[in-house]
Symmetry: C2
Subunit: 341 residues, 2 copies
């Protein structure tokens, strides 16, 4: 019997992934960039047992049995197994896979990114595979490929039809910009109304603005973002982050029928942050929103205390639907293996 447990971090994009050019292989229509958060507050954890005594492969997510015939799960397993030494004695044994997120699942908090990164990493460990497994994680959930690395990560869209060049690379390690912090503001921890998968599919089919964004705006913005990160230029980084979040949600609204992820509380947070920055006379905080109403704020360590106080003042914790902060976390460690037997 083999047992592996792994944990994997969440990543929060600052240049957004929205739209696939290949639904099965999960190949995107533009590059994206994210920071990987520390494992301290939010992570996915996966344990895998591989044993000759198991009569079938089973997969639990947060205590609920999942179908193992899903395309995404099967694709990850198949691609991992392609890399396994065919003489490995336990290759034919069944698996018992148990995954958990310590934060709300499918609430637009990158749970599937952490989850699939963790699953693929744990599979790679159990089958003793080395190398860049980000393109395999990508087949589980696109943005999962970015959670394979720590620090600042770019998912290169790639050009080939087989997706072999659509993988994540590290722009800078977590040590590069040690002052950077992320605050996660949980506006609503319920499962989102529009899944990212169907939302982005409809966007690709119906939004003329998305085509323009992917082809003509993101390439330049990606370059500018990489430069801003490398130079630790917070002002430029913050503006690009907010603009790209807004443009992603604009594209969702240009989708037909439209998909909405921001709500009135999200909008109030956006307005508050612009008001705060304007009053401070400099950019102190940047917001970004994924496919849900919850805000992620990027800011420097020196400003964390004041910003938390300001947000607690404007949004007393009782006005929100869940724990207010998931804690301040930093772009941080590489995918971390907790225990490996």
């Amino acid at each position: 019997m083999k047992i592996v447990t792994a944990v994997a971090p969440v990543n929060i994009a600052v240049i957004k992934y929205w739209g696939k050019r290949d639904e099965t292989l999960i190949l995107p229509i533009n590059d994206s960039i994210s920071a990987t958060l520390s494992l301290e507050h939010m992570c996915a954890k996966t344990s895998i047992v591989c044993s000759p005594d198991l009569t079938e492969t089973k997969f639990w997510l947060n205590g609920e049995l999942q179908p193992t015939d899903s395309k995404r799960f099967q694709n990850c397993l198949r691609e991992i197994k392609k890399l396994v030494n065919p003489n490995l004695e336990y290759l034919s044994w069944n698996l018992s896979i148990c995954s958990e997120n310590n934060f709300p699942t499918a609430a637009g908090l990158a749970s599937s990114a952490a989850g699939y990164a963790c699953l693929v990493y744990a599979l790679a460990k159990i089958y003793e595979i080395n190398g860049n497994i980000s393109s395999i994680a990508r087949m589980g959930s696109g943005s999962a490929c970015r959670s394979i690395f720590g620090g600042w990560v770019r998912w290169q869209m790639g050009n080939t039809t087989d997706g072999s060049d659509s993988l994540a690379v590290q722009i800078a390690p977590e040590t590069h910009w040690p002052e950077m912090r992320v605050l996660v503001l949980v506006v609503n921890d319920k499962t989102k109304t529009y899944s990212s998968t169907s939302g982005m599919k409809t966007s690709v089919e119906t939004s003329t603005l998305l085509k323009h964004r992917a082809a003509n705006i993101v390439p330049q913005r990606t370059k500018e973002m990489i430069t801003a990160i490398k130079n630790k230029d917070y002002k430029t980084f913050a503006k690009l982050t907010m603009q790209d979040s807004n443009q992603f949600h604009a594209v969702c609204l240009d989708t037909y029928p439209p998909c909405f992820y921001l709500n009135d509380t999200s909008r109030a947070i956006i307005e508050l942050i612009h008001f705060y920055n304007q009053n401070k006379g400099e950019t102190k905080v940047a917001y970004t929103f994924d496919a849900g109403p919850n805000a992620c704020l990027y800011l420097l360590e020196k400003d964390v205390a004041e910003v938390i106080a300001m947000i607690n003042y404007v949004f007393p914790p009782t006005s929100l639907k869940s724990d207010y902060f998931k804690g301040d976390t930093v772009p941080s460690k590489k995918l971390d293996e907790v225990s490996l037997k």
Copy 2:
């Protein structure tokens, strides 16, 4: 002494005007199309007294004295006076102008369009001017030029720098599509947070999606909309109307800082209408939102009763902040003169 009273209708755009290429002349970056509503429920009313006894020109809006040195007011007055017979004895007399809207002002319900159309029309009457005064109304408030005509109206953006070809033309009279109805759902009748003027200025300066929309999307969409109106093709008309409303709000979100006009109630209305159309198996209702959270629904007379019942069921009147319906109105009469002495 000369006295004139005029009323002017509201128009609701189905292809949206957003963005000026000239701030002073109010020249737009794309064509727009609207229907002019009947005067029955919503209108602006302006009375002008012209008398040698008046010591200065004064202007009241909804009972409040307004500055008469505003550029917009002065531009309208100057352009009208250019067309006046210089021998007209009362050309030098001062004016007492009194305007009222019978619906919320500056709440994204096209109050300035009706207001300036009415002002310019009343001025034209008092000075005995004939001809297309839509380009003068445009200098008061861009979309006012469309309220000069009844039925279905196109504001041609024009190309000249002096704006002489940026004017409204009628696509079809109010009798063309007699089954068409408009429902106005007042979500919030408060003055909007972001004025249209400053919002669209910021959009032009910062939104890359707006440039693409104006140059590459609206021209084709305008053609399709005109064809749909001429053919009374409700299905195509409705889809284009909803798509263009959504794209306009997408551009607002792509603006930096973003401007928000839709709120959670607006979004709930959008979702309800897509749900309703889907359940009916055909497009029965189309929504459109201007620079505010209030919805305008375009639908055919046969469906009005059921749609009103459905909306009253989902949004009981007490859940909204104001009178629920401003009434069902039709694309209707030409600018109507009530009294002219």
